[in-house]
Symmetry: C2
Subunit: 292 residues, 2 copies
């Protein structure tokens, strides 16, 4: 059984990015610059943004963090987005979600210049990715594809079952896995309204679980020799931990892992890859890889 | 067995559109206006465009056909697209595909103002559709969803197998069929690299065949009581016809139809719905239903 080490892979990719950045700087170029907008004081968002800033340092990027209080108006936030759109020194930026309820997330996302949309949430990037032309691809699905590739796990012609149909994981993952230049798999998407879910899983060569239910995928749902990618990160109360919780994936790792060809752990699997893919997108933005 | 009559359904929808248009005109409004750009003299394209003009008449729309020779430059075609973008009297327009090889179809499509992109091919519309927010949806997948709805065929929780992963049918169809506000089905996409194709079909409650191989889906691949949607329209030589050919679907209708709960014939099934959906999109454009 191969334990897919997302932490080591992410470290490797960040080192590769840093090498490229130092080469750019050595030849007189400017360091890639990622900006992040953080509204309010949500614990999860604080952690994510802090990790993004650290990843920027690891990659040799410049980073800027813009913080605003919860009571920022939509109009003011839109003006900040416009300012970053126009700032030639910023290659890419993200607006950390979720936003306070009085602000339309979709409106903010669509206001971001798609050429700086390193989160890949703008409809132009979502659409280009679906069509199969170069675009910023959102971090989680991009990271999963990268893990499968770096571990030389064959996906072409395989039956891939995706659990969950969210806009940030399930849907884009399905598009990437079905494309000829992507996974080239036979893709099935199951969700909360899928009575066939267990049966589909049992036939799967690859399961990508992004359904947000701790330990949902059990040994009886998995075909021996399959590849299991676990996107779940639910916080489960755990009094033995200092934090009071532990992260729990969508897969019952203990029972499933012995059956698998390969599996990602939680934590340390898909998670570390996501911020790393954001760094990859930022480098691509700085290099104008997808857009002029 | 229900024979899904696309021709009658399309006629019904066009009559509904015409009623709405006459109500608009009666209250002092302007008739919706669809423009089409046709480059060259491809036989199929000529027929499609002619039928679009006729459909406009049936719906009470104004229509404009702009014709150019095969040797039009990309630059000139882009300037024509820009002119239609700026023409306030045009609500929506299409550029009939395929285009001559010296012109980038993707470049032309992306030059169309997405608010007038009634074909739904612009990445913004593709992306918004994928995200599940209002957008122009391309004609074939939209027409199939409309047929399923008008025939009250249950799709929620059903296993839907889509054959083909093209950008104009397979991929958008998969997104629409999996969405909670769309088909809400468990969706599997099979294609030329799917060894599981037959097995998947045999488990399907709904098969949407868009693989472009005449009579590919045979009785042994179909579960009794399933719903079969046939998107195929291959021209097969037929000396008994005046035209010298007949249209052949992807489904072996003779053997499959007796097994089905419902099936679309070819011709007269999905085909007539597509132009009708273009009319629906044009009315939506005139009414600014999706964009201001």
């Amino acid at each position: 059984m191969i334990l897919i080490d997302g932490k080591a892979t992410a470290a490797q990719i960040k080192a590769e990015i840093k090498d490229k950045v130092e080469a750019i700087v050595a030849s007189g170029g400017r360091r890639p610059h990622l900006a992040a907008i953080l509204v309010g004081h949500d614990g999860g968002s604080e952690t994510y943004v802090k990790n993004k800033v650290l990843a920027c340092e690891a990659c040799g990027f410049e980073s800027t963090l813009l913080r605003f209080e919860d009571d920022i108006t939509e109009e003011y936030l839109l003006s900040e987005v416009a300012r970053l759109n126009d700032d030639a020194s910023v290659d890419g930026f993200i607006v950390q979600l979720p936003l306070p309820k009085h602000i339309s997330e979709q409106k903010i996302i669509e206001a971001i210049d798609y050429r700086k949309d390193v989160d890949g949430f703008h409809p132009i990037n979502v659409g280009r990715m679906a069509i199969g032309i170069p675009a910023f691809i959102s971090a989680t699905p991009k990271g999963i594809l990268e893990l499968l590739r770096r571990y030389n796990l064959e996906t072409s012609g395989k039956k891939c079952v995706i659990l969950g149909r969210s806009n940030i994981v399930g849907k884009p993952m399905s598009q990437l896995m079905m494309q000829k230049n992507g996974g080239d798999s036979t893709v099935t998407v199951c969700h909360s309204h899928s009575p066939q879910l267990k049966e589909e899983c049992r036939k799967a060569d690859i399961i990508i679980a992004a359904i947000g239910k701790p330990c949902f995928v059990t040994a009886d749902m998995v075909k021996p020799g399959s590849i299991i990618i676990d996107v779940g990160t639910t916080r489960v109360p755990d009094s033995t931990r200092k934090s009071g919780f532990r992260l729990c994936g969508d897969v019952d790792f203990e029972s499933v892992a012995p059956l698998c060809q390969a599996i990602t752990p939680v934590p340390g699997g898909v998670g570390p890859m996501t911020i790393c893919m954001l760094m990859m997108n930022t480098l691509a933005a700085a290099n104008h890889e997808y857009y002029k």
